[in-house]
């Protein structure tokens, strides 16, 4: 998954990596998103008072989001009182920045869960949308301060917190995992620090919320630092096989290792010219 980034790192690249990619094409499912740079968002300091930005956000909202979330952003309730489209009042700028900033919103089609897509808006537009939603209820979580996103926290503590709070869904190496009925916890490799932080405080879709009372901002910084550390430091043992664990290793042993040896036995037993 993180191969593209590794190539940029030149010094750590294995000559075998290219061969490995071809061999593992079936196992590795997509993932060029690592190319995205981790530049910190310029509008992160949530200037909700900036009325011009709010007005601009409202215009964008009415044009792109209101069809589902309603003109006043209160969502939509069906005849049985069931919320079919969620209200955005109180979700905060952080939720908007996460959902729109990762391309999950605007949604294309309904499915088990909203998928990551190409981002539809510019950074400025996202900031405007976020400012507008924040203005609806100023108590909502805001876009995190850059000091929590620097990746310079305690990786050891972060690793431990990650394993207790996150690994059961996202896998110990952040490679992702399955949930019920077609839902899944996404791969965290290559996800911007800001989005990881926002996911924790807003609990998008089926992810639980990790409020600051549960994991303090400093805890979150540690977790992010751990994930970024894993990204920056490729496995000591060589190519990672997508970090999916023993199943992929087993398939590799059967198909690649045993397959190669069977080809060699054929050469060995074939009559020479």
């Amino acid at each position: 998954m993180s191969l593209f980034r590794r190539n940029v790192n030149g010094a750590r690249r294995h000559p075998m990596a290219a061969v490995a990619v071809i061999a593992l094409g079936l196992i590795v499912s997509g993932g060029g998103y690592a190319a995205a740079s981790a530049a910190v968002h310029p509008a992160s300091s949530a200037t909700a008072a900036d009325t011009q930005l709010v007005a601009e956000g409202k215009k964008l909202f009415l044009g792109n989001c209101a069809s589902c979330h309603g003109k006043n952003a209160a969502g939509e309730v069906d005849a049985n009182g069931k919320q079919v489209f969620p209200t955005l009042i109180g979700v905060g700028a952080a939720a908007v920045d996460f959902q729109v900033g990762t391309g999950r919103m605007p949604a294309q089609a309904s499915g088990p869960q909203m998928m990551k897509k190409t981002v539809q808006f510019t950074d400025h537009q996202i900031a405007a949308l976020a400012a507008y939603v924040q203005s609806l209820d100023p108590t909502g979580p805001t876009v995190p301060d850059a000091k929590w996103l620097d990746g310079k926290g305690d990786t050891s503590r972060g690793g431990e917190l990650f394993r207790v709070n996150c690994a059961m869904c996202h896998n110990a190496a952040g490679a992702g995992g399955a949930l019920t009925e077609g839902k899944f916890a996404p791969n965290l490799s290559g996800v911007k620090a800001r989005h990881i932080y926002e996911a924790m405080i807003t609990g998008p879709q089926n992810m639980p919320v990790f409020s600051d009372k549960n994991l303090s901002p400093s805890d979150k910084r540690d977790i992010i630092s751990y994930l970024k550390y894993l990204e920056k430091n490729p496995s000591s043992g060589g190519y990672e096989l997508a970090n999916l664990g023993p199943v992929v290793e087993g398939l590799f042993a059967w198909i690649i290792a045993l397959g190669l040896l069977v080809l060699i036995t054929m050469w060995l037993a074939a009559k020479s010219n």
Partner: protein, 352 residues
């Protein structure tokens, strides 16, 4: 007809071979005749001196490559030292060392096989094969030996000796089995109790901070252990593996509470054992929207809103609930221990 035996005749000593029954095999009367071994395959190296020499050079070259590989592994061992402060260099060390050794062994192996294939005789040879069964003479002698041994020892004759020997042999391993008795203690009632008790605070796993009820907002999940266990305890992991709890905040209106479990939650905050009732993995995948808890090992799914009843997967029983409340400072505490054994089912879990 089908039971007719078929003789397998050995070329050399047909008379020695035993005729076995062919069972349901059909013995064709006019089988197509065996043309015998095909003619030898002639290789280029058999025909041409030039090819033979080239092949010999290739084999030697491969062996030289092998020497180079193994020798460079020796150099690499010193060329890529490890660091005492960081693990970065391990990657290079592993890669280059492995590559050099692989070169050494692969070239050696390929060289040897190439040698065999191109320069050693290519003609297949036939060797006679005899039945595994001993000849009549051998078998008769074997029987004779056994009879002799029996006679000389009186094994069949002397009943008392024989029977006491059998009994002695049966008794002899028993102490050997018994000494394994101290492999583990009587499990007693250890599976029925955890460290949870009335008034024990629910604290964060792993750093032990107590939890205010007001901090458990709707949709949030806390991984919790009892305050009375500590990583420095001798039995920390044993206690934790029974006492681990998942604390979830939900909208109280969404909860369906069984009559006998009224008052076990605190304003929509519920605490359930994290240990799966199937085979004991930590069930910790909480879906905020559906309120489902999923076990990552075997996919048992529990409905948190409905007393953690099993709705999918191989588990059979709901996750046990820990009755909780708050103390005077507003921190969450247990009302008591779990009221049933946690974790996987066992034989007498329902018998007290």
């Amino acid at each position: 007809m089908s039971d007719k035996p078929k003789a397998i005749k050995g070329a050399a000593n047909a008379s020695d071979e035993f005729d076995y029954s062919a069972g349901l095999a059909v013995i064709p009367a006019d089988k197509i005749e065996d043309p015998g071994l095909e003619p030898h395959h002639v290789r280029m190296t058999d025909k041409s001196k030039k090819h033979e020499k080239a092949a010999a050079r290739q084999v030697a070259l491969l062996f030289f490559v092998s020497i180079f590989g193994s020798a460079s592994a020796l150099v690499i061992y010193f060329l890529f030292p490890l660091s005492t402060t960081e693990f970065g260099p391990v990657r290079e060390n592993t890669f280059w060392l492995g590559l050099a050794i692989a070169l050494g062994t692969l070239a050696l192996g390929i060289g040897a096989v190439h040698w065999a294939k191109t320069l050693m005789p290519a003609a297949e040879q036939a060797e006679a094969r005899h039945q595994t069964r001993g000849s009549e003479e051998t078998r008769a002698r074997a029987v004779e030996i056994i009879k002799l041994a029996d006679q000389e020892s009186g094994f069949s004759r002397r009943k008392l000796i024989r029977r006491s020997l059998y009994t002695a042999l049966a008794f002899f391993p028993l102490p050997g089995i018994l000494v394994f008795g101290d492999l583990g203690p009587n499990p007693g009632r250890t599976l029925r109790h955890t460290k949870w008790a009335k008034g024990v605070r629910l604290v964060h796993d792993p750093y032990g901070a107590p939890i205010l009820a007001s901090d458990v907002t709707e949709g949030s999940v806390f991984h919790v252990v009892p305050a009375n266990i500590n990583p420095d305890d001798e039995d920390y992991l044993e206690q934790k593996s029974k006492a681990a709890v998942l604390l979830v905040g939900v909208n109280p209106e969404d909860l369906t509470i069984a009559p006998d479990k009224k008052g076990w939650d605190y304003n929509g905050i519920v605490a359930y054992s994290k240990i799966c009732t199937h085979v004991g993995c930590p069930v910790a995948l909480f879906e905020q929207d559906t309120h489902h808890l999923l076990c990552p090992c075997h996919q048992s799914t529990f409905d948190l809103n409905n007393g953690c009843a099993v709705i999918f997967g191989p588990a059979s029983r709901p996750l046990p609930q820990l009755p909780i409340t708050v103390d005077k400072d507003g921190y969450l505490i247990a009302q008591s221990d779990f009221l049933e054994p946690v974790g996987p089912s066992f034989w007498d879990r329902s018998i007290n």
